[in-house]
Protein backbone atom coordinates (compact mmCIF):
# COMPACT_ATOMS: atom_id res chain seq x y z
CA UNK A 1 0.00 0.00 0.00
CA UNK A 2 0.95 3.52 -0.60
CA UNK A 3 2.87 5.15 2.21
CA UNK A 4 0.72 7.60 4.05
CA UNK A 5 2.41 10.91 3.83
CA UNK A 6 1.56 13.77 6.06
CA UNK A 7 -1.06 16.36 5.94
CA UNK A 8 0.14 19.76 7.03
CA UNK A 9 -2.52 21.69 8.90
CA UNK A 10 -1.95 25.40 9.14
CA UNK A 11 -4.28 26.84 11.74
CA UNK A 12 -2.53 29.99 12.86
CA UNK A 13 -4.62 32.95 11.72
CA UNK A 14 -3.20 35.55 9.34
CA UNK A 15 -0.59 33.25 7.88
CA UNK A 16 0.59 33.22 4.31
CA UNK A 17 1.95 30.15 2.57
CA UNK A 18 4.76 30.55 0.09
CA UNK A 19 7.14 28.42 -1.91
CA UNK A 20 10.88 28.42 -1.47
CA UNK A 21 12.62 25.88 -3.68
CA UNK A 22 11.12 22.55 -2.69
CA UNK A 23 9.79 23.82 0.63
CA UNK A 24 6.61 25.35 1.83
CA UNK A 25 7.25 28.39 4.01
CA UNK A 26 4.66 29.57 6.52
CA UNK A 27 4.85 33.31 7.09
CA UNK A 28 3.17 35.73 9.39
CA UNK A 29 3.82 39.35 8.55
CA UNK A 30 7.61 39.51 8.21
CA UNK A 31 8.50 36.48 10.23
CA UNK A 32 8.81 32.92 9.07
CA UNK A 33 6.90 30.55 11.34
CA UNK A 34 7.97 27.35 9.72
CA UNK A 35 9.39 25.60 6.72
CA UNK A 36 8.54 22.07 5.60
CA UNK A 37 9.89 20.10 2.64
CA UNK A 38 7.08 19.40 0.20
CA UNK A 39 8.22 15.89 -0.62
CA UNK A 40 6.97 14.72 2.76
CA UNK A 41 3.50 16.04 2.21
CA UNK A 42 0.42 14.51 0.74
CA UNK A 43 -1.85 17.41 1.44
CA UNK A 44 -2.02 20.82 3.04
CA UNK A 45 -5.10 22.08 4.82
CA UNK A 46 -5.15 25.69 5.87
CA UNK A 47 -7.57 27.79 7.82
CA UNK A 48 -5.30 30.84 7.65
CA UNK A 49 -6.98 33.81 6.03
CA UNK A 50 -4.29 35.17 3.78
CA UNK A 51 -3.88 32.32 1.37
CA UNK A 52 -1.02 30.94 -0.61
CA UNK A 53 1.28 32.15 -3.34
CA UNK A 54 0.50 31.18 -6.93
CA UNK A 55 3.92 29.55 -7.11
CA UNK A 56 3.02 27.27 -4.22
CA UNK A 57 -0.36 26.43 -5.71
CA UNK A 58 1.25 25.49 -8.96
CA UNK A 59 3.87 23.33 -7.27
CA UNK A 60 1.19 21.56 -5.24
CA UNK A 61 -0.85 20.88 -8.35
CA UNK A 62 2.21 19.55 -10.15
CA UNK A 63 3.24 17.29 -7.31
CA UNK A 64 -0.27 16.10 -6.62
CA UNK A 65 -0.36 17.62 -3.17
CA UNK A 66 -3.90 18.53 -2.20
CA UNK A 67 -4.10 22.14 -1.09
CA UNK A 68 -7.36 22.87 0.68
CA UNK A 69 -8.61 26.12 2.11
CA UNK A 70 -11.12 25.94 4.92
CA UNK A 71 -12.72 28.88 6.69
CA UNK A 72 -11.82 29.15 10.32
CA UNK A 73 -15.04 27.45 11.23
CA UNK A 74 -13.91 24.50 9.21
CA UNK A 75 -16.23 25.11 6.31
CA UNK A 76 -14.84 24.08 2.96
CA UNK A 77 -13.62 27.01 0.90
CA UNK A 78 -11.71 25.73 -2.07
CA UNK A 79 -9.22 23.19 -3.24
CA UNK A 80 -6.38 23.51 -5.70
CA UNK A 81 -5.98 20.56 -8.01
CA UNK A 82 -3.88 19.93 -11.07
CA UNK A 83 -5.03 18.58 -14.38
CA UNK A 84 -7.60 15.85 -14.14
CA UNK A 85 -5.80 12.58 -13.82
CA UNK A 86 -6.76 9.14 -14.92
CA UNK A 87 -8.26 8.13 -18.13
CA UNK A 88 -11.30 9.21 -19.97
CA UNK A 89 -12.59 5.67 -20.46
CA UNK A 90 -12.90 5.18 -16.72
CA UNK A 91 -14.63 8.51 -16.18
CA UNK A 92 -17.07 7.89 -19.01
CA UNK A 93 -17.93 4.58 -17.47
CA UNK A 94 -18.61 6.42 -14.21
CA UNK A 95 -20.85 8.93 -15.99
CA UNK A 96 -22.70 6.22 -17.91
CA UNK A 97 -23.45 4.19 -14.82
CA UNK A 98 -24.46 7.29 -12.89
CA UNK A 99 -27.18 7.86 -15.47
CA UNK A 100 -28.60 4.37 -15.16
CA UNK A 101 -30.65 3.86 -12.01
CA UNK A 102 -30.12 0.14 -11.78
CA UNK A 103 -26.36 0.41 -12.11
CA UNK A 104 -26.15 3.32 -9.69
CA UNK A 105 -28.22 1.41 -7.21
CA UNK A 106 -25.85 -1.57 -7.30
CA UNK A 107 -23.05 0.69 -6.10
CA UNK A 108 -25.05 3.02 -3.85
CA UNK A 109 -26.52 0.01 -2.07
CA UNK A 110 -23.06 -1.11 -1.03
CA UNK A 111 -22.12 2.33 0.28
CA UNK A 112 -25.14 2.29 2.55
CA UNK A 113 -24.77 -1.34 3.57
CA UNK A 114 -21.27 -0.37 4.63
CA UNK A 115 -22.58 2.59 6.57
CA UNK A 116 -25.24 0.65 8.47
CA UNK A 117 -23.02 -2.35 9.05
CA UNK A 118 -20.33 -0.19 10.59
CA UNK A 119 -22.73 1.80 12.73
CA UNK A 120 -24.28 -1.42 13.88
CA UNK A 121 -20.96 -2.75 15.10
CA UNK A 122 -20.29 0.54 16.87
CA UNK A 123 -23.47 -0.10 18.84
CA UNK A 124 -22.56 -3.73 19.45
CA UNK A 125 -19.12 -2.77 20.62
CA UNK A 126 -20.53 -0.32 23.14
CA UNK A 127 -22.89 -2.90 24.57
CA UNK A 128 -19.90 -5.14 25.05
CA UNK A 129 -17.53 -2.59 26.45
CA UNK A 130 -19.78 -0.29 28.45
CA UNK A 131 -22.85 -2.30 29.44
CA UNK A 132 -23.08 -0.44 32.77
CA UNK A 133 -23.24 3.00 31.17
CA UNK A 134 -25.76 2.51 28.41
CA UNK A 135 -29.22 1.17 27.90
CA UNK A 136 -28.14 -2.18 26.50
CA UNK A 137 -31.61 -3.26 25.53
CA UNK A 138 -32.17 -0.16 23.45
CA UNK A 139 -28.80 -0.57 21.78
CA UNK A 140 -29.54 -4.21 20.98
CA UNK A 141 -32.92 -3.23 19.62
CA UNK A 142 -31.62 -0.56 17.27
CA UNK A 143 -28.68 -2.74 16.26
CA UNK A 144 -31.28 -5.33 15.27
CA UNK A 145 -33.18 -2.71 13.31
CA UNK A 146 -30.02 -1.75 11.43
CA UNK A 147 -29.51 -5.42 10.61
CA UNK A 148 -33.03 -5.56 9.19
CA UNK A 149 -32.49 -2.39 7.21
CA UNK A 150 -29.42 -4.00 5.65
CA UNK A 151 -31.52 -7.02 4.64
CA UNK A 152 -34.10 -4.67 3.13
CA UNK A 153 -31.46 -2.74 1.24
CA UNK A 154 -30.18 -5.91 -0.39
CA UNK A 155 -33.63 -6.45 -1.90
CA UNK A 156 -34.86 -3.00 -2.94
CA UNK A 157 -34.93 -2.01 -6.59
CA UNK A 158 -34.80 1.77 -6.63
CA UNK A 159 -32.72 4.62 -5.29
CA UNK A 160 -35.67 6.40 -3.75
CA UNK A 161 -36.28 3.51 -1.36
CA UNK A 162 -32.58 3.38 -0.60
CA UNK A 163 -32.53 7.03 0.36
CA UNK A 164 -35.66 6.51 2.45
CA UNK A 165 -34.20 3.61 4.40
CA UNK A 166 -30.94 5.43 4.80
CA UNK A 167 -32.74 8.40 6.35
CA UNK A 168 -34.75 6.25 8.74
CA UNK A 169 -31.69 4.30 9.81
CA UNK A 170 -29.76 7.52 10.43
CA UNK A 171 -32.55 8.76 12.72
CA UNK A 172 -32.52 5.54 14.69
CA UNK A 173 -28.75 5.55 15.05
CA UNK A 174 -28.58 9.16 16.18
CA UNK A 175 -31.16 8.43 18.88
CA UNK A 176 -28.37 6.61 20.68
CA UNK A 177 -25.63 9.11 20.00
CA UNK A 178 -26.12 10.99 23.26
CA UNK A 179 -25.62 7.75 25.18
CA UNK A 180 -22.32 7.14 23.41
CA UNK A 181 -20.98 10.24 25.12
CA UNK A 182 -19.62 8.82 28.34
CA UNK A 183 -17.71 11.77 29.76
CA UNK A 184 -18.21 15.51 30.22
CA UNK A 185 -21.94 15.01 29.84
CA UNK A 186 -22.86 18.49 31.01
CA UNK A 187 -20.77 20.15 28.27
CA UNK A 188 -21.36 17.65 25.51
CA UNK A 189 -24.94 16.61 24.97
CA UNK A 190 -26.45 15.51 21.71
CA UNK A 191 -30.06 16.29 20.87
CA UNK A 192 -30.08 15.81 17.13
CA UNK A 193 -28.05 16.76 14.11
CA UNK A 194 -27.88 20.40 13.09
CA UNK A 195 -25.38 21.91 10.73
CA UNK A 196 -26.19 25.30 9.27
CA UNK A 197 -24.85 26.40 11.64
CA UNK A 198 -24.00 23.77 14.26
CA UNK A 199 -25.69 24.80 17.49
CA UNK A 200 -23.76 22.79 20.06
CA UNK A 201 -20.27 21.50 20.72
CA UNK A 202 -20.93 18.01 19.41
CA UNK A 203 -22.46 19.19 16.16
CA UNK A 204 -19.63 21.67 15.66
CA UNK A 205 -17.16 18.82 15.84
CA UNK A 206 -19.22 16.44 13.73
CA UNK A 207 -19.45 19.04 11.00
CA UNK A 208 -15.73 19.63 11.01
CA UNK A 209 -14.99 15.89 10.98
CA UNK A 210 -17.36 15.34 8.05
CA UNK A 211 -15.77 18.22 6.16
CA UNK A 212 -12.32 16.74 6.58
CA UNK A 213 -13.49 13.26 5.66
CA UNK A 214 -15.29 14.52 2.55
CA UNK A 215 -12.11 16.33 1.54
CA UNK A 216 -10.05 13.23 1.93
CA UNK A 217 -12.55 11.16 -0.03
CA UNK A 218 -12.60 13.73 -2.84
CA UNK A 219 -8.82 13.75 -3.00
CA UNK A 220 -8.71 9.95 -3.00
CA UNK A 221 -11.20 9.76 -5.89
CA UNK A 222 -9.25 12.35 -7.81
CA UNK A 223 -6.08 10.32 -7.29
CA UNK A 224 -7.52 7.19 -8.85
CA UNK A 225 -8.94 9.15 -11.76
CA UNK A 226 -12.61 9.35 -10.81
CA UNK A 227 -14.72 12.49 -10.85
CA UNK A 228 -15.66 13.32 -7.25
CA UNK A 229 -18.62 15.39 -8.43
CA UNK A 230 -20.59 12.64 -10.14
CA UNK A 231 -22.20 10.37 -7.60
CA UNK A 232 -24.36 7.27 -7.58
CA UNK A 233 -26.51 7.87 -4.54
CA UNK A 234 -26.15 11.59 -4.04
CA UNK A 235 -27.58 13.31 -7.08
CA UNK A 236 -25.66 15.87 -9.05
CA UNK A 237 -25.84 19.32 -7.65
CA UNK A 238 -23.52 22.05 -8.87
CA UNK A 239 -20.57 22.45 -6.55
CA UNK A 240 -21.31 19.32 -4.57
CA UNK A 241 -18.79 16.51 -4.58
CA UNK A 242 -21.50 13.85 -4.71
CA UNK A 243 -19.28 10.83 -5.20
CA UNK A 244 -17.09 11.96 -2.32
CA UNK A 245 -20.23 12.12 -0.18
CA UNK A 246 -21.27 8.66 -1.39
CA UNK A 247 -17.88 7.25 -0.58
CA UNK A 248 -17.75 8.76 2.90
CA UNK A 249 -21.09 7.25 3.94
CA UNK A 250 -19.53 4.02 5.11
CA UNK A 251 -16.88 5.93 7.06
CA UNK A 252 -19.08 8.50 8.78
CA UNK A 253 -19.77 6.37 11.84
CA UNK A 254 -16.61 4.40 12.31
CA UNK A 255 -14.28 7.18 11.31
CA UNK A 256 -15.77 10.60 11.97
CA UNK A 257 -18.28 9.88 14.73
CA UNK A 258 -15.95 7.64 16.66
CA UNK A 259 -13.23 10.24 16.33
CA UNK A 260 -15.43 12.94 17.84
CA UNK A 261 -16.58 10.59 20.59
CA UNK A 262 -12.97 9.76 21.45
CA UNK A 263 -12.07 13.43 21.74
CA UNK A 264 -14.88 13.91 24.23
CA UNK A 265 -14.65 10.63 26.10
CA UNK A 266 -10.89 10.86 26.54
CA UNK A 267 -11.23 14.53 27.47
CA UNK A 268 -8.84 15.57 24.76
CA UNK A 269 -11.14 18.44 24.08
CA UNK A 270 -13.14 20.40 26.65
CA UNK A 271 -15.75 23.11 26.93
CA UNK A 272 -13.10 25.86 26.79
CA UNK A 273 -12.26 24.87 23.22
CA UNK A 274 -15.57 26.23 21.93
CA UNK A 275 -17.17 29.64 21.52
CA UNK A 276 -20.85 30.33 21.22
CA UNK A 277 -21.66 33.14 18.82
CA UNK A 278 -24.50 35.61 19.25
CA UNK A 279 -26.61 33.62 16.78
CA UNK A 280 -26.27 30.47 18.82
CA UNK A 281 -23.79 29.03 16.35
CA UNK A 282 -20.95 27.14 17.98
CA UNK A 283 -17.43 27.15 16.62
CA UNK A 284 -14.12 25.77 17.80
CA UNK A 285 -11.54 28.20 19.12
CA UNK A 286 -8.16 28.39 17.39
CA UNK A 287 -6.74 26.19 20.11
CA UNK A 288 -9.61 23.76 19.85
CA UNK A 289 -9.14 23.46 16.12
CA UNK A 290 -5.42 22.91 16.57
CA UNK A 291 -6.08 20.00 18.92
CA UNK A 292 -8.77 18.65 16.60
CA UNK A 293 -6.47 18.64 13.58
CA UNK A 294 -3.56 17.23 15.50
CA UNK A 295 -5.62 14.31 16.79
CA UNK A 296 -7.12 13.79 13.36
CA UNK A 297 -3.65 13.45 11.94
CA UNK A 298 -2.67 10.99 14.66
CA UNK A 299 -5.78 8.94 13.99
CA UNK A 300 -4.83 8.68 10.34
CA UNK A 301 -1.56 7.02 11.28
CA UNK A 302 -3.23 4.25 13.28
CA UNK A 303 -3.14 0.85 11.67
CA UNK A 304 -6.09 -1.24 10.73
CA UNK A 305 -6.65 -4.50 8.91
CA UNK A 306 -8.46 -3.82 5.67
CA UNK A 307 -11.34 -6.32 5.66
CA UNK A 308 -11.36 -6.94 1.91
CA UNK A 309 -7.72 -6.49 0.98
CA UNK A 310 -6.62 -8.41 4.06
CA UNK A 311 -3.69 -6.06 4.44
CA UNK A 312 -2.70 -3.79 7.27
CA UNK A 313 -3.00 -0.16 6.26
CA UNK A 314 -3.23 3.18 8.00
CA UNK A 315 -6.67 4.54 8.77
CA UNK A 316 -5.79 7.55 6.67
CA UNK A 317 -5.43 5.35 3.60
CA UNK A 318 -8.90 3.86 3.87
CA UNK A 319 -10.58 6.48 1.63
CA UNK A 320 -7.86 5.89 -0.94
CA UNK A 321 -8.21 2.11 -0.77
CA UNK A 322 -11.98 2.38 -1.20
CA UNK A 323 -11.65 4.78 -4.13
CA UNK A 324 -9.26 2.34 -5.74
CA UNK A 325 -11.63 -0.58 -5.22
CA UNK A 326 -14.45 1.45 -6.71
CA UNK A 327 -12.38 2.18 -9.81
CA UNK A 328 -11.51 -1.50 -10.02
CA UNK A 329 -15.19 -2.35 -10.03
CA UNK A 330 -15.93 0.24 -12.72
CA UNK A 331 -13.19 -1.35 -14.74
CA UNK A 332 -14.80 -4.74 -14.22
CA UNK A 333 -11.84 -6.19 -12.37
CA UNK A 334 -14.20 -6.90 -9.48
CA UNK A 335 -17.74 -8.27 -9.40
CA UNK A 336 -18.98 -5.44 -7.20
CA UNK A 337 -17.87 -2.58 -5.01
CA UNK A 338 -16.68 -3.96 -1.69
CA UNK A 339 -17.59 -1.57 1.12
CA UNK A 340 -15.27 -1.20 4.08
CA UNK A 341 -16.90 -3.46 6.65
CA UNK A 342 -15.45 -2.78 10.05
CA UNK A 343 -15.95 -4.80 13.16
Amino acid sequence: MRKLLNTLFVTTPETYLALDGENIVIKKEDTTLGRVPLHNLESIVTTGYLGASPALMRKCAEKNIGLTFLTNTGKFGSRVTGGTTGNVTLRKKQYRLSDIEEESLAIARHFIIGKLYNQRWMLERLTRENPMRIDVERFKQISGELKNYIEDIRLIDNLESLRGIEGQAANRYFLLFDQMILQQKSDFGFYGRNRRPPLDNVNAMLSLAYTLLAQECAAALETVGLDPYVGFMHQDRPGRASLALDLMEELRGIYADRFVLTLINKKMITEKDFVKKESGAVILTDDGRRIFFQKWQEKKQEQIQHPFLGEKINWGLVPYAQALLLSRFLREDLDGYPPFLWK
Binding site: I113, G225, L309, E311, L324, D335, P338, L341
Partner: protein, 217 residues
Protein backbone atom coordinates in the same frame (compact mmCIF):
# COMPACT_ATOMS: atom_id res chain seq x y z
CA UNK B 1 -0.11 2.16 -41.51
CA UNK B 2 -1.44 3.44 -38.24
CA UNK B 3 -3.28 6.66 -37.59
CA UNK B 4 -1.13 9.18 -35.72
CA UNK B 5 -3.71 9.19 -32.93
CA UNK B 6 -2.90 5.60 -32.25
CA UNK B 7 0.87 5.79 -32.16
CA UNK B 8 2.18 4.18 -28.99
CA UNK B 9 5.13 5.41 -26.97
CA UNK B 10 8.41 3.65 -27.68
CA UNK B 11 9.35 4.16 -24.05
CA UNK B 12 6.36 1.96 -23.24
CA UNK B 13 8.03 -1.09 -24.73
CA UNK B 14 10.13 -1.51 -21.60
CA UNK B 15 6.99 -1.28 -19.45
CA UNK B 16 5.27 -3.81 -21.68
CA UNK B 17 8.07 -6.33 -21.44
CA UNK B 18 8.30 -5.79 -17.70
CA UNK B 19 4.59 -6.36 -17.21
CA UNK B 20 1.74 -6.01 -19.68
CA UNK B 21 -0.55 -4.76 -16.99
CA UNK B 22 1.92 -2.09 -15.91
CA UNK B 23 2.13 -0.87 -19.47
CA UNK B 24 -1.66 -0.72 -19.74
CA UNK B 25 -2.02 1.13 -16.44
CA UNK B 26 0.45 3.74 -17.59
CA UNK B 27 -0.42 4.06 -21.25
CA UNK B 28 -4.09 3.18 -21.44
CA UNK B 29 -5.24 4.28 -18.03
CA UNK B 30 -2.75 7.12 -17.70
CA UNK B 31 -1.73 6.27 -14.19
CA UNK B 32 1.68 6.96 -12.87
CA UNK B 33 3.45 6.95 -9.58
CA UNK B 34 7.06 7.73 -8.95
CA UNK B 35 9.43 5.57 -7.02
CA UNK B 36 13.16 5.68 -6.57
CA UNK B 37 13.83 3.88 -9.84
CA UNK B 38 11.61 6.13 -11.91
CA UNK B 39 13.08 9.26 -10.34
CA UNK B 40 16.60 8.10 -11.12
CA UNK B 41 15.55 7.54 -14.68
CA UNK B 42 14.03 10.97 -14.89
CA UNK B 43 17.08 12.67 -13.48
CA UNK B 44 19.28 10.96 -16.00
CA UNK B 45 17.05 11.98 -18.86
CA UNK B 46 16.98 15.61 -17.83
CA UNK B 47 20.64 15.59 -18.79
CA UNK B 48 20.11 14.11 -22.19
CA UNK B 49 16.92 15.99 -22.89
CA UNK B 50 18.40 19.11 -24.44
CA UNK B 51 16.93 19.36 -27.91
CA UNK B 52 18.67 22.59 -28.82
CA UNK B 53 22.21 21.34 -28.34
CA UNK B 54 23.77 20.07 -31.51
CA UNK B 55 27.38 19.06 -31.44
CA UNK B 56 29.82 18.54 -34.25
CA UNK B 57 32.86 16.41 -33.62
CA UNK B 58 35.24 15.58 -36.43
CA UNK B 59 33.34 13.03 -38.47
CA UNK B 60 30.10 13.11 -36.59
CA UNK B 61 27.10 15.22 -35.78
CA UNK B 62 25.52 14.56 -32.38
CA UNK B 63 21.87 15.35 -31.90
CA UNK B 64 19.95 15.07 -28.62
CA UNK B 65 16.30 14.49 -27.85
CA UNK B 66 15.36 13.70 -31.42
CA UNK B 67 11.63 13.06 -31.96
CA UNK B 68 10.99 10.00 -34.11
CA UNK B 69 8.14 7.80 -35.31
CA UNK B 70 7.24 4.82 -37.45
CA UNK B 71 3.85 4.90 -39.20
CA UNK B 72 4.13 1.24 -40.19
CA UNK B 73 4.61 0.08 -36.60
CA UNK B 74 2.50 2.87 -35.15
CA UNK B 75 5.05 4.00 -32.59
CA UNK B 76 6.56 7.33 -31.63
CA UNK B 77 9.12 8.57 -29.17
CA UNK B 78 12.32 10.43 -28.60
CA UNK B 79 15.89 9.27 -29.08
CA UNK B 80 18.14 10.38 -26.23
CA UNK B 81 21.04 10.80 -28.64
CA UNK B 82 21.56 10.07 -32.31
CA UNK B 83 25.04 10.14 -33.72
CA UNK B 84 25.19 10.86 -37.43
CA UNK B 85 28.49 9.47 -38.63
CA UNK B 86 29.91 10.53 -41.96
CA UNK B 87 29.66 7.57 -44.26
CA UNK B 88 30.01 7.40 -48.05
CA UNK B 89 27.23 4.81 -48.05
CA UNK B 90 25.00 6.98 -45.88
CA UNK B 91 22.22 9.40 -46.72
CA UNK B 92 22.33 13.18 -47.13
CA UNK B 93 20.96 15.29 -44.29
CA UNK B 94 19.08 18.53 -44.71
CA UNK B 95 21.51 21.47 -44.25
CA UNK B 96 24.63 19.32 -44.05
CA UNK B 97 27.14 18.47 -46.71
CA UNK B 98 28.17 14.86 -47.19
CA UNK B 99 26.29 11.71 -46.32
CA UNK B 100 25.68 10.18 -42.91
CA UNK B 101 24.61 7.00 -41.14
CA UNK B 102 22.57 7.41 -37.96
CA UNK B 103 23.35 5.45 -34.78
CA UNK B 104 20.86 5.75 -31.92
CA UNK B 105 22.20 5.86 -28.35
CA UNK B 106 19.85 5.18 -25.48
CA UNK B 107 20.83 6.18 -21.93
CA UNK B 108 19.88 3.92 -19.08
CA UNK B 109 20.45 4.08 -15.38
CA UNK B 110 21.63 0.89 -13.75
CA UNK B 111 23.50 -1.78 -15.61
CA UNK B 112 22.83 -4.05 -18.59
CA UNK B 113 19.76 -6.22 -18.04
CA UNK B 114 18.97 -9.84 -18.73
CA UNK B 115 15.71 -8.99 -20.44
CA UNK B 116 15.35 -7.63 -23.91
CA UNK B 117 13.53 -4.47 -22.89
CA UNK B 118 16.36 -1.99 -23.42
CA UNK B 119 17.45 -3.71 -26.59
CA UNK B 120 13.97 -3.71 -28.09
CA UNK B 121 13.55 -0.05 -27.26
CA UNK B 122 16.75 0.64 -29.16
CA UNK B 123 15.55 -1.57 -32.00
CA UNK B 124 12.38 0.49 -32.20
CA UNK B 125 14.44 3.65 -32.47
CA UNK B 126 16.54 2.13 -35.23
CA UNK B 127 13.45 1.10 -37.16
CA UNK B 128 11.99 4.60 -36.85
CA UNK B 129 15.20 6.22 -38.05
CA UNK B 130 15.33 3.86 -41.01
CA UNK B 131 11.79 4.70 -41.95
CA UNK B 132 12.18 8.46 -41.55
CA UNK B 133 15.55 8.81 -43.19
CA UNK B 134 15.19 5.99 -45.72
CA UNK B 135 18.45 4.34 -44.82
CA UNK B 136 19.78 1.40 -42.90
CA UNK B 137 20.53 1.38 -39.20
CA UNK B 138 22.43 -1.82 -38.50
CA UNK B 139 23.50 -0.95 -34.95
CA UNK B 140 22.95 1.24 -31.93
CA UNK B 141 24.34 1.76 -28.43
CA UNK B 142 23.00 1.35 -24.94
CA UNK B 143 24.84 3.52 -22.46
CA UNK B 144 24.57 2.35 -18.86
CA UNK B 145 25.03 4.90 -16.16
CA UNK B 146 26.21 2.46 -13.55
CA UNK B 147 28.92 0.90 -15.66
CA UNK B 148 29.61 4.11 -17.57
CA UNK B 149 29.94 2.01 -20.69
CA UNK B 150 28.15 1.77 -23.96
CA UNK B 151 27.24 -1.60 -25.31
CA UNK B 152 27.08 -1.99 -29.05
CA UNK B 153 23.89 -3.71 -30.18
CA UNK B 154 23.38 -5.26 -33.61
CA UNK B 155 19.88 -4.65 -34.85
CA UNK B 156 19.33 -8.20 -36.08
CA UNK B 157 16.34 -9.53 -38.05
CA UNK B 158 15.39 -11.59 -34.99
CA UNK B 159 15.17 -8.42 -32.87
CA UNK B 160 13.07 -6.68 -35.51
CA UNK B 161 10.69 -9.65 -35.55
CA UNK B 162 10.45 -9.66 -31.75
CA UNK B 163 9.73 -5.92 -31.78
CA UNK B 164 6.99 -6.32 -34.37
CA UNK B 165 5.34 -9.07 -32.39
CA UNK B 166 5.27 -7.05 -29.17
CA UNK B 167 4.13 -3.84 -30.77
CA UNK B 168 1.28 -5.67 -32.51
CA UNK B 169 0.15 -7.04 -29.16
CA UNK B 170 0.32 -3.56 -27.62
CA UNK B 171 -1.86 -2.23 -30.38
CA UNK B 172 -4.43 -4.95 -29.75
CA UNK B 173 -4.80 -3.93 -26.12
CA UNK B 174 -4.80 -0.28 -27.08
CA UNK B 175 -7.60 -0.73 -29.62
CA UNK B 176 -9.75 -2.48 -27.03
CA UNK B 177 -8.62 -0.10 -24.25
CA UNK B 178 -8.08 -3.25 -22.33
CA UNK B 179 -6.02 -3.60 -19.17
CA UNK B 180 -4.82 -7.19 -18.83
CA UNK B 181 -5.44 -8.95 -15.54
CA UNK B 182 -2.71 -9.35 -12.98
CA UNK B 183 0.00 -11.92 -13.28
CA UNK B 184 2.05 -11.54 -10.14
CA UNK B 185 5.69 -12.29 -9.69
CA UNK B 186 8.81 -11.14 -7.95
CA UNK B 187 8.97 -8.24 -10.36
CA UNK B 188 5.94 -6.70 -8.60
CA UNK B 189 8.27 -5.56 -5.82
CA UNK B 190 10.14 -3.31 -8.22
CA UNK B 191 6.98 -1.84 -9.74
CA UNK B 192 6.12 1.74 -8.90
CA UNK B 193 2.47 1.07 -9.66
CA UNK B 194 1.85 -1.75 -7.22
CA UNK B 195 -0.43 0.43 -5.14
CA UNK B 196 -2.57 1.20 -8.13
CA UNK B 197 -2.44 -2.30 -9.55
CA UNK B 198 -3.00 -4.09 -6.25
CA UNK B 199 -1.51 -7.32 -7.59
CA UNK B 200 -2.66 -9.35 -4.61
CA UNK B 201 -6.22 -8.22 -4.85
CA UNK B 202 -7.55 -9.81 -7.95
CA UNK B 203 -7.63 -13.46 -7.15
CA UNK B 204 -8.52 -13.11 -3.50
CA UNK B 205 -12.26 -13.24 -3.33
CA UNK B 206 -15.45 -12.06 -4.92
CA UNK B 207 -17.27 -9.08 -3.54
CA UNK B 208 -20.44 -11.13 -3.38
CA UNK B 209 -18.77 -13.76 -1.22
CA UNK B 210 -17.26 -11.09 0.99
CA UNK B 211 -20.62 -9.43 1.58
CA UNK B 212 -22.48 -12.68 2.12
CA UNK B 213 -19.96 -13.84 4.64
CA UNK B 214 -19.80 -10.63 6.60
CA UNK B 215 -23.48 -9.87 6.55
CA UNK B 216 -24.66 -13.16 7.94
CA UNK B 217 -22.44 -12.81 10.99
Amino acid sequence: MYDEQDYLMISGIQHFLFCRRQWALIHIEQQWQENVLTLEGQYLHEKTDQPTIREKRKDRLIVRALPIHSPTLGITGICDVVEFVQDPNGVPLNGESGTFSPIPVEYKHGKPKQELSDILQLTAQAVCLEEMLVCEVPKGYLYYHETKRREEIDITPALREELKKNVAEMHQYWTRRYTPKVKTGNFCKKCSLQNICLPKLMNVQTVKGYLDRRLCE
